[in-house]
Amino acid sequence: MLAGSSHTSSAHSDWLLVQRTLAGEMRAFELLVLKYQRRVERLIGRLVRDPGLVEDLAQETFIRAYRALARFRGESAFYTWLYRIAVNTAKRQLAELRRDPVLSMSSLESADEDETSGATRELMLQAIDDATPEALLASKEIAQAVNAAMEALPAELCQAITLREIDGLSYEAIARQLECPIGTVRSRIFRAREAISARIKPLLERQGGKRW
């Protein structure tokens, strides 16, 4: 379960940030907002199909999540929990506005049950299909830049980042596999990310702040 390992470490990172937020450090919540903003916007965009509402509802989702944060018990991934809040926020808004949702209520209800359900996965894939040509081009450009940067990486760094991001291994498992200390693994992954980030920085700056 390679991807699962990656999700587990992401869940642990989110759990740490939730705990720091509950301890009163707002900055931790800001990192969660930065991490999940686009996914929440994309989900809501699929549910309400009104670009004017998407950003407001995405903001509302994070506000509601923050207010309810003490009730997040870490039994599901943070995004799964956030996903349900986003769906409920969209449903409530649609009910208030008495609009006819583009999706049937049954689709919304099944989306509300579990983000991993088939119906929801279908929603997410449709959302990707619905991305604007500009968005698709941006994703393609970033992916190409990342691939080019990977090819230019020294073998040690390339191995480390591949084992982490694609195979989803922990630092400890990577250290065993590469027969080096965990600190070296951590340093190599960081250096790989920095090198790739330098390549995609202009693209990200161009894309930052634009609507999807």
Partner: protein, 153 residues
Amino acid sequence: MNPPQNLDAMPTPSADGRESLSALVDGECRPDELAVLLQAGPQRQALDAAWTSYLAVGAALRQSAGDEVRPPSTDFAAAVMARLATEALPGVGEVAEMPPQVRARAAANDESWRWKWVAGLAACAAVAAFGWQLLDQEVAAGPELAKSQPVTR
């Protein structure tokens, strides 16, 4: 394929928190590091950029449906945080319940449980001592009562 770059020319581990941030992406950041990271003032903008960039790199490498390659808008996050800054929020400052696997481990070492055990044992000991004292008095009073009983024929 391009020739590999010289390791020495690669970015060196930074003291400004980016390496900790990279570890946080992987869920491998130590609590003390995280505390420092969250307090970073002057580097905040650079750390935001690094955070979104590291996440975008992972998403691009995995190319999975749920991941977002496009960077988030910092204006959006600023708007959310500005709204949160103006209201009192329930729950903040409270200790959240831990996930079951963490909770089970923590319960074994929980200080309050130890005190509850001590209090329970002390209560049991007090009840036992009181009972013993009563019993003792009854035994002692028994012959006296027998003595004072008038003989009736």
